[in-house]
Symmetry: C2
């Protein structure tokens, strides 16, 4: 398996496969097929077979995929067979909601620190974690070797804060601000954009 | 153009194209190429040309795409050349953040009503909109012929509330609860799942 060779568009589908497989496993299922998986997530069986084959032999013709085995392999490929410490910057409504979100734990992420600039918020505790001011943020990120950040600040300051995060060594930013961030090539940004998801559905109305 | 023939996987990419084109237009750009667009959004130029060609002739060889023309066509295809009234159900941190989110207006959506079950929240006003109780929700959805809902309730009640929405006539649900919703075939659900986006980036760490 050569990591350099896997196109980003395939990488983008793997977490979706992983989520569906984990759901099946929770329901006690042991095996699945590309047809079944495809129906659940709305991707063609042929596409799934093609994607999965990039990483080696996962199933035998006719017997389908072993769910636990495929989960394990996908976790290794996506590097979520470990837990990544993660910070949240911006403790408005969205930051609070994310700090309390219970969907990270079993997916490879742990929120360790919260940051905000507002003196009224600094020192408050959300789910046992204190909100820190942003003055010492760079040092805290470096000391703890944090690579993953959620950015939930207002759009007006998002680029400035993103620049700070990049300088501190952050390599993955999940951006909730409604704007495009400019970052160096070795930093990855994913944009959570509810309007894009909504537009995907209006087509069918 | 036959709507029945466009695969869902292509439909899913169109809002991403639209967002990138709108960003370019805001910056005063008039034309672009599949290469340029592809580099911005991380999709191959060949894929973009193939997707766009499904909807007719958009560019001439060598001169590229007209950005305003492509925006208009994509808006028509995705049915966001109008504004869809939308409700938010569940006014916790996430619901509040979404009610105040300023990224819907120019993308085809308008939040008209807010709902929650908590007597302490009912009657509160968020950005000029009153929070209604969920008792009269079905009637309000029907009266106003609302088709689009954002679901931001706790996972424990999300399926029950989704069932209510479906009965009331909602056809598109943007689901923020960390669980899979079972809905009839004619109802579309998009799941906002931050862990999936994060897992797409850890691959590169």
């Amino acid at each position: 398996m050569n990591a350099e060779k896997i196109p980003d568009i395939i990488i983008g589908r793997l977490p979706i496969y992983l989520r569906a497989l984990q759901r099946m496993a929770e329901n006690g299922k042991q095996t699945t097929s590309s047809q079944e998986l495809g129906e659940i997530i709305g991707i063609s069986a042929a596409q799934i077979r093609k994607d999965v084959s990039q990483f080696g032999e996962f199933g035998k013709q006719g017997t389908g995929y072993s769910i636990p085995f495929l989960i394990e392999r996908l976790q290794v490929i996506l590097k979520v067979n470990r837990v990544w410490d993660m910070i949240i910057v911006g403790m408005g409504d969205m930051g609070h909601a994310l700090a309390r979100y219970n969907g990270f734990g079993d997916r490879g992420f742990h929120v360790t620190m919260l940051f905000d600039n507002d003196p009224k918020k600094i020192g408050q505790v959300v789910d046992d974690r204190k909100i820190f001011g942003m003055d010492g943020m760079t040092e805290k990120i470096k000391e703890n070797e944090i690579k993953v950040a959620i950015l939930a600040v207002p759009a007006s300051v998002a680029q400035t804060v993103a620049d700070q995060l990049v300088k501190a060594g952050i390599k993955s930013i999940l951006n909730y601000a409604p704007l495009h961030l400019n970052v160096p090539k070795d930093v990855h940004v994913q944009h959570i954009d509810p309007a894009t998801h909504l537009q995907r559905m209006t087509y069918y109305l």
